[in-house]
């Protein structure tokens, strides 16, 4: 190591390098321009350095603040209110009544369908009609349309006045040519269903499901007399390309005294839902061709309100229900606890009510939101899970008809004065609200509201469950067990090292434990998961025994020690060697626990604790459980807590200690009454810092728990923490998607937790340093 230059050399190099000759010629003069220049240069450099270094120092504050702001900023769009903007409005007065409106996903061209079966396509910006297509009924008569029904924003069932149905699909096809986009459209006639003799048809619903080689078209008709008819067309294509068509038809009736007011069919054509005048909510299963069974019937409202609108929410298991008082609710089958089969429909979500009866409900085709329209002409968009009101449109002219683009990014409305308006919707994260993140939510298929984290599943129509509470709980649980293990060990270890230990050992102990602190967490995680966990699984009784036996054995040893301590050899040990002598005692305690495991397990737990635990309490023993985490995380924070405690204790002014000892207090009394109280803020800070470290630790938790997000304090199972969750899910999360932002939000949450903890601890330590400065 080169010796540092002395002060003289340092200055000599810089300022008087050219001076020797000058010195010979003339005495030192402050007016010498050369020297002045040198001085000025040095001053300039000094000033520049001052600015540069200060900027660099303050940069650290910006780093901390910038990180926080950045992470939070990525998470924030979760909470922005959805935006809706009116892009255009034009008049579309016709003699014929308009039954449906729609728009392409680029919001350039739209259409309306009138009562004659004429599709008029127009440019959305000015309403200029550029094409008209007419769909004719099979009967070739000049018929008017009775009503239409639509799903997926593209399949329309046209019910003609004679009772026949035509199923059509409206398709928009964008074409790119030299960077210019033109949108063409197609109207495909998919199927025709002739009218039934002597039957009045009130509504008809067509559903198309299946792949190309096995397609099913289902038509459900509401007939007069409270009757429902189901017609199913199965088209199957074998490997040779031959197609086979099978037709099924059946109908069923509901008692006449309670007229069906509204009905709907799910997207796949598997279930029919109906609401009645007296508020009965009915559900038929029609998934088997030719068969229909009433699987659910509940009295939805006690005061016999009529149900006026129904819609099956995306995912096909929940129904949105609107009634004549303007109430809006969502129902789904609760699980029957024993069999796991779907039970009766339950009212799960309640939304803000309208003043008027609800006229129409339309589910979204991409997520679990649905649009409602009331008799007063107001349109609202609600998300089922988050219960958020995403959109609320009302104007002096009541809206009567609305339609979405296939991507749900645009809404077309038609009001009483035949004004068509185009709205652009931007609803990036409808499923997220403070309640879904932190509160209990009643998810589809669950018995009751719960905290659940399940961000993805194999199907698209799955209801994502984003309860951060589960993860926060997991973090706290892991940290709790870690602190239970580490605080006593680290604190008392530090007390012994700083107060009682022989100085020769102390000099090695502290650096040794600091090196321990450098142990990478991935290694601790690996060791405790693949080496310790199987051992603890095998010796779990020993583990519990040792927590009891080691203190017992130690106390027993102390009684023995008390008898022999007057021996001069023993006296020497009391001068700072105690921790060495106690080692065999601890080893003996451990050995005893291992030896006693087998008899105790045989006596109390029929020879297999894990099996006993499961049979008696229903708790499962996970190999990677909270005991393991307690050890792993605890071992990780022990050096941290130890070092800071040790610093706090050693920094207590020697004079205090000396005064106490000289007044006759024993070494433990001095520590307990004098040193510890003075150092307590530092110790407190140490514990807080340890807590902050444990709560954010990733690798140990990731490796040594099963990462199952459950809320359960049991020591025998694991947890999923905020930090581990980020590591597991962030690499797979699509950029700027809901999951991505929620993970950033949980990162911000972790940041905030540790920020408060660390700031608090640092303020305490700064105070402490100041108060020690007084001695």
């Amino acid at each position: 190591m080169p010796a540092p230059p002395t002060a003289d050399e340092a200055i000599g190099n810089e300022m008087f390098q050219t001076a020797p000759q000058v010195e010979k010629l003339a005495p030192f003069s402050a007016e010498d321009p050369k020297i002045i220049r040198t001085f000025q240069r040095a001053k300039r450099i000094d000033l520049m350095a001052r600015w540069g270094i200060s900027a660099g120092g303050i940069l650290v504050i910006f780093c901390v603040v910038g990180m926080m702001v950045f992470i939070a900023a990525v998470g924030m769009p979760l909470f922005i209110t959805p935006s809706v903007a009116k892009l255009s409005q034009f008049d579309r007065s016709l003699q014929e009544k308009i039954l449906a409106v729609g728009v392409d996903e680029y919001l350039e061209t739209g259409f309306s369908l009138d009562q004659r079966g004429v599709w008029s396509f127009y440019y959305m910006k000015d309403g200029k009609v550029f094409n008209q297509v007419t769909t004719k009924p099979v009967a070739k008569k000049n018929l008017q349309l009775h009503s239409i029904e639509t799903y997926d924003n593209k399949i329309y069932s046209l019910l003609w006045a004679d009772g026949s149905t035509t199923v059509t699909e409206v398709k928009f096809l964008p074409k790119f040519n030299e960077g210019v986009r033109t949108i063409t459209h197609q109207i495909n006639r998919i199927a025709d269903f002739p009218a039934e003799q002597n039957q009045q048809v009130l509504q008809s619903f067509a559903r198309i499901s299946g792949e190309d080689d096995s397609k099913r078209v289902t038509l459900v008709r509401q007939l007069g007399n409270n009757k429902i008819q189901v017609i199913q067309q199965l088209v199957e294509e074998d490997l040779m390309g031959n197609t086979e068509e099978k037709n099924y038809s059946n109908d069923f009736q509901y008692p006449l005294e309670d007229p069906i007011t509204v009905m709907t069919v799910d997207r796949l054509g598997n279930a029919v839902y109906a609401g009645t005048q007296t508020g009965q909510l009915l559900q038929w299963n029609i998934s088997e061709p030719g068969e229909a069974s009433l699987v659910g019937q509940v009295q939805a409202f006690e005061n016999a309100m009529a149900i006026t609108a129904l819609a099956v929410v995306f995912g096909e298991s929940s129904v949105a229900v609107g009634d004549e008082k303007g109430n809006l609710t969502v129902w789904f089958p609760g699980k029957i606890q024993k069999t796991g089969e779907p039970g009766p429909l339950k009212k799960v979500h309640i939304y803000d009510s309208y003043k008027n009866p609800i006229a129409r409900l339309l589910p979204s085709t991409r997520n679990k939101s649905f649009t409602s329209l009331d008799e007063g002409g107001n349109i609202r968009l609600n998300h089922m899970t988050s219960e958020r009101k995403l959109l609320d449109l009302s104007s002096a002219q009541p809206y009567r008809i609305f339609g979405f683009s296939t991507r749900d990014n645009g809404l077309v409305t038609l009001d009483d004065h035949n004004q068509i308006s185009l709205w652009e919707l931007d609803i990036p994260h409808p499923e997220v609200s403070w309640r879904t993140l932190f509160g209990e939510v009643w998810y589809e298929g669950y018995q009751e509201p719960e905290h659940i984290w399940q961000s993805s599943a194999s199907t698209d129509d799955f209801e994502p469950k984003f309860s951060l509470t589960t993860l926060v709980f997991g973090s706290l649980k892991g940290t709790f067990y870690a602190m239970v293990f580490s605080i006593p060990l680290a604190l008392f270890g530090a007390i012994y090292t700083s107060e009682f230990c022989k100085d020769t050992y102390r000099r090695y102990l502290k650096p040794g434990i600091e090196i321990m602190a450098a142990m990478p967490s991935v290694i601790i995680g690996f060791l405790i998961a693949l080496w310790l966990a199987p051992i603890v699984e095998q010796y779990v009784i020993s583990f519990f025994l040792s927590t009891l036996l080691i203190p017992l054995v130690t106390v027993f040893f102390l009684f023995v020690w008390q008898a022999i301590r007057e021996n001069p050899w023993c006296k020497r040990i009391e001068g700072g060697y105690e921790f060495l002598l106690i080692v065999p005692v601890i080893i003996f305690g451990c050995w005893l626990s291992v030896v006693l495991q087998a008899p105790i397990e045989r006596m109390l737990f029929n020879g297999n604790f894990q099996l006993w635990l499961y049979q008696e309490t229903g708790m499962r023993y996970d190999q990677r459980n909270s005991i393991i985490i307690g050890y792993g995380l605890g071992f990780l924070v022990i050096p941290l807590i130890f070092t800071i405690c040790d610093d706090a204790l050693t920094n207590v002014p020697k004079s205090l200690k000396a005064a106490s000892l000289s007044l006759g207090a024993s070494r433990w009394q001095t520590l307990w009454r004098v040193v510890l109280p003075s150092a307590s803020p530092g110790i407190f800070a140490a514990i807080i810092i340890g807590f902050g470290r444990a709560i954010g630790e990733t690798m140990v938790v990731l490796m040594a728990t099963g990462n199952t997000p459950i809320m359960d304090w049991s020591v025998f199972n694991g947890m999923r923490t905020l930090a581990a969750n980020i590591a597991v899910e962030l690499p797979e999360a699509p950029v700027d998607g809901t999951l991505y932002r929620i993970l950033f939000l949980s990162g911000a949450l972790l940041f905030l937790i540790t920020f408060f903890l660390n700031t608090f601890a640092e303020v305490i330590r700064q105070r402490l340093r100041k108060s020690y400065g007084q001695f």
Partner: protein, 543 residues
């Protein structure tokens, strides 16, 4: 002293022994002892498991009472919990015959354990180890069944030499494909910038690409012919159950006769394996072979990280120690530093992903590589972003150590320098920093140790289980900062937790763990020794 008097003192002492709190001293001693015991046990487990992996253990032939027999390495013994009976775990290898590498045999079923001298152990390119007996050597020029061992050795060395040629060919192929890739990117760029399809520039690139393509294909054919030729050299082995298998020499990495090796042969074997670990590529989903790419990735990442972390850390510490006035700002900087140190590493990862990878990386992509979009260049995880993230993470380590070192410089020295007319900056550069340099070094070393062991932020900013290419190679611009990389710590996580056969992967994980622990521990010890020396020097000089 009067006898009775001494007795009373004794009784008094006994009574007050508990009151004075002596037992509590013992209990705190017990706490310290427990911490040390845990640490020692952990280190012992790592060392004992990590060091022994490469030592060739004998392969036993176990005859069972039911008449069957099996061969394999004896790995561990375990007592069954319910009956208390002992059982023996055996690594039987031969994964292509028995689907599992390991087998448990109860002690009570074992008749006899012998160590036949003619057992041969093979390390193979796939299916793990093979234990069995050599029966035949087949070459295109004939079949040998006499003097087998020497024939086998001869052929093995012949193939090893041929393999080196094959590897050269492999290098040529990969450099060719690199060239083709850069030509493809060039072409893409030209097309993006609207160069007409018939232009000479584009035509030149295309011609060049076609030429390389042809060369590439020729080389591929040549390589596969060569491989086919060499695959004809095989050896036939028989396992304990009498099944035979013919294995091409090409698939044999290494062979040894475990039961006849002398001590020095074993040492040689150990060193060879150690060299393979440090210098070779991994095999069999990272569970065999070497760690070179992971070591390389770790080192390169640490070096890049230093460029951010060291200057920023030192400057901040200088600001805090020498320039800042004791006021609100200084306290805030202090709090900020301690916060930086306390923020969970995964949060740095989250920041790195959002800010560096998608923020800066995405911007670089749209500005400089728009023709490659939507395939990201810098806009996905890579060694640069991972290093910068770790750079931020290690700044507080450097700051704390530097600050400590600066404050250890005696005030009198500083004042002396200032009194002689030096400016503050001159004092800093010429006096304080040289004196504090060992302490600053300590900070650097600690930061490197921290970075080498950190995994969580890397997992989301660019580390992968298997990187096809190193970030530093012979093709322009030599240092490919956008590439993904391998890392020792992640290697442990990946092999230990993501590989399909964890039991077979364990030895490799222990070796990696041992290596990483060694790196981190040695560096931290070094740092601490350096720091203590510094402290001693100033206490002795003591102005």
């Amino acid at each position: 002293m009067d006898n009775s008097n001494s007795e009373t003192i004794n009784i008094h002492a006994h009574r007050s022994y508990w009151k004075l709190g002596e037992p509590m001293v013992w209990l705190s001693g017990a706490a310290l002892a427990s911490i040390l015991a845990i640490a020692v046990i952990l280190v012992f487990v790592i060392i004992s498991n990590g060091l022994g992996v490469f030592w060739p253990s004998p392969v036993a032939r176990i005859s069972l009472l039911d008449g069957g027999s099996t061969i394999g390495e004896l790995t561990q013994r375990q007592q069954k919990r319910d009956t208390g009976a002992w059982r023996q775990q055996i690594k039987t290898g031969n994964r292509d015959f028995n689907s599992l590498d390991f087998r448990w045999i109860e002690d009570s079923d074992i008749k006899k354990i012998t160590y036949p001298a003619n057992i041969i152990a093979l390390e193979r390119m796939e299916f793990g180890n093979f234990y069995g007996f050599l029966r035949e050597v087949n070459t295109p020029s004939g079949q040998f069944s006499k003097d087998l061992n020497s024939q086998f050795e001869k052929q093995f060395h012949f193939i090893a030499e041929e393999m080196e040629k094959l590897e050269d060919m492999e290098d040529d192929i990969s450099s060719l494909s690199n060239d083709m890739e850069s030509l493809r990117l060039k072409k893409q760029k030209l097309e993006y910038h609207g160069v007409a399809s018939g232009s000479p520039e584009l035509a030149k690139v295309q011609a060049e690409h076609a030429r390389l393509q042809q060369e590439f294909e020729e080389l591929l054919i040549k390589q596969s012919n060569e491989i086919n030729r060499l695959r004809a050299y095989t050896a036939t082995f028989e396992d304990i159950s009498g099944k035979t298998k013919s294995i091409p020499f090409l698939d044999i990495v290494r062979y040894y006769y475990p039961n006849t090796m002398s001590f020095f042969q074993k040492v040689g074997f150990y060193i060879e394996k150690l060299w393979e670990l440090l210098a070779e590529e991994p095999r069999e989903a990272n569970t065999e072979g070497g760690l070179f790419p992971a070591i390389f990735g770790t080192v390169l990442m640490v070096i890049i990280m230093s460029f951010l972390s060291f200057p920023l850390g030192v400057i901040t510490a200088i600001y805090m120690g020498e320039y800042a006035k004791d006021g609100v700002v200084n306290r805030m900087v202090h709090i900020a530093v301690h916060n930086l140190a306390g923020i969970p590493s995964i949060v740095y990862g989250v920041f790195g992903l959002g800010f560096f990878v998608y923020g800066i990386g995405g911007t670089i992509d749209t500005l400089f590589f728009p023709e490659r979009l939507p395939t990201p260049t810098f806009g996905s995880g890579g060694i640069l972003w991972a290093s910068l993230t770790l750079g931020l993470l290690t700044v507080p380590v450097v700051i704390v150590a530097t600050e400590e070192a600066l404050s250890a410089v005696p005030k009198s020295v500083k004042e002396g320098s200032l009194a002689l007319g030096a400016t503050k900056f001159q004092t800093l550069i010429r006096v304080i920093l040289p004196m504090a340099s060992p302490g600053i070094m300590t900070g650097f070393i600690l930061a490197i140790a921290r970075a080498a062991g950190e995994v969580a932020p890397l997992m989301i900013t660019g580390v992968v289980k298997l990187a096809p290419t190193l970030a530093l190679d012979s093709s322009f611009p030599y240092l490919h900062l956008e590439r993904k990389f391998m890392h020792l710590g992640f290697h442990i996580y990946d092999v230990g937790f993501q590989s399909p056969n964890v039991e077979a992967a364990k030895p490799m994980v222990f070796v990696t763990t041992f290596l990483l622990v060694m790196i981190v521990m040695v560096m931290s010890s070094l740092a601490i020794v350096l720091r203590n020396r510094l402290k001693e020097r100033y206490t002795i000089t003591g102005f």
